[in-house]
Symmetry: C2
């Protein structure tokens, strides 16, 4: 089985659940149901890793410290890009290095996604031009200030080629949506059941 | 305001969402509602940190690497202990150092909680004797093999002095339950709304 490489961007003041939710869902998805299949990667369709500008420890919101797996310039090709949100995005919307990396990675990826205010970064990189997209309920106005086709409210996941999601926990739904579009409803629901997540 | 110290145990093969869910909820809880209050710790009732046997990097399930804030022997006194689960618990149920630390920390803590198979560690430490408790749906039998008052199924959070929860995502509910018992329904619901978590 070809395993998609999932690169999750992390940065200072990234919201913990924004990256941890999709990390959990995508790293625990198995094409073979049950608990036993989760003890190995044999039926895992994704290989999930974190990427940051450098390999320095990253301090997420609340003080959780994560060691990025790869720096921008050493990451393997990414099939599925996940851009999480958090207050740290407000600095990065004007950070040329990050936006260039996002743009270059998105161009080569098969699927581009964001969680929460991660969509501000996609928008700032010009990737939401003409597209429907969403973000955290408190940041809809901020998103609308960028060149975005249509800002959608009251929807947990918006899939318009690029997949964006509402705030924080909605990143779990976003990841389950990606699983469903790739492997069907049964695999997504079984993964949600394994995580005991109340999928909507 | 006195801020409760929340110590979240982490260890090799801890499940990502098991520790990240409560970390997110408890570190983002604010007694003042809204987005702005989350930009500082002024109305934060909890100070949340990770603790591990040593300060070596901890590899969670799926390969996420976290730097523990404190080693066992250097952690400040913990008011609220959170013991997450994951396959790594199966090694630790027989690890004297971990069980002793859990027992000593629990004795001094004001509140002891677990997520998922973290309850196996509490049970092995003798802390669930005579108590009602739960765990991941697939581990109810394992939990029953320990000296536990009653193993509860089909309940996301079980509060019998010690608070245990069902699998993975149920740790978010567990943390919101703790918030509710301490600060009331409005604070818990507002925090869930901020996280856009579909609280049940």
């Amino acid at each position: 089985m070809e395993r998609w490489k999932v690169g999750i961007l992390i940065f200072e003041d990234v919201e913990v659940l924004d990256f941890a939710g999709p990390f959990e869902v995508l790293s625990r998805t198995r094409l073979v149901p049950g608990v036993e299949s989760r003890r190995s990667d044999d039926s895992a369709p994704f290989h999930v890793f974190t990427v940051a500008a450098t390999r320095d420890p990253v301090r997420a919101t609340g003080g959780l410290v994560v060691l990025p797996r790869f720096a921008f310039d050493e990451s393997p090709p990414i099939d599925l890009l996940v851009v999480p949100g958090g207050f740290g995005t407000r600095r990065l919307v004007a950070d040329a290095g990050t936006l260039t990396w996002i743009r270059d990675t998105a161009r080569r990826a098969r699927r581009v996604t964001s969680v929460c205010t991660g969509s501000l970064l996609l928008a700032s990189a010009g990737l939401l031009r003409g597209r429907r997209a969403t973000t955290h309920g408190s940041a809809l106005g901020e998103l609308a200030a960028f060149d975005v086709g249509q800002v959608v409210r009251d929807q947990r996941v918006v899939d318009d080629v690029i997949v964006t999601s509402a705030g924080v926990a909605a990143g779990i739904d976003m990841a389950l949506h990606v699983v469903e579009t790739m492997f069907g409803r049964a695999v997504a629901d079984e993964t949600a059941a394994y995580l005991e997540y109340p999928r909507r």
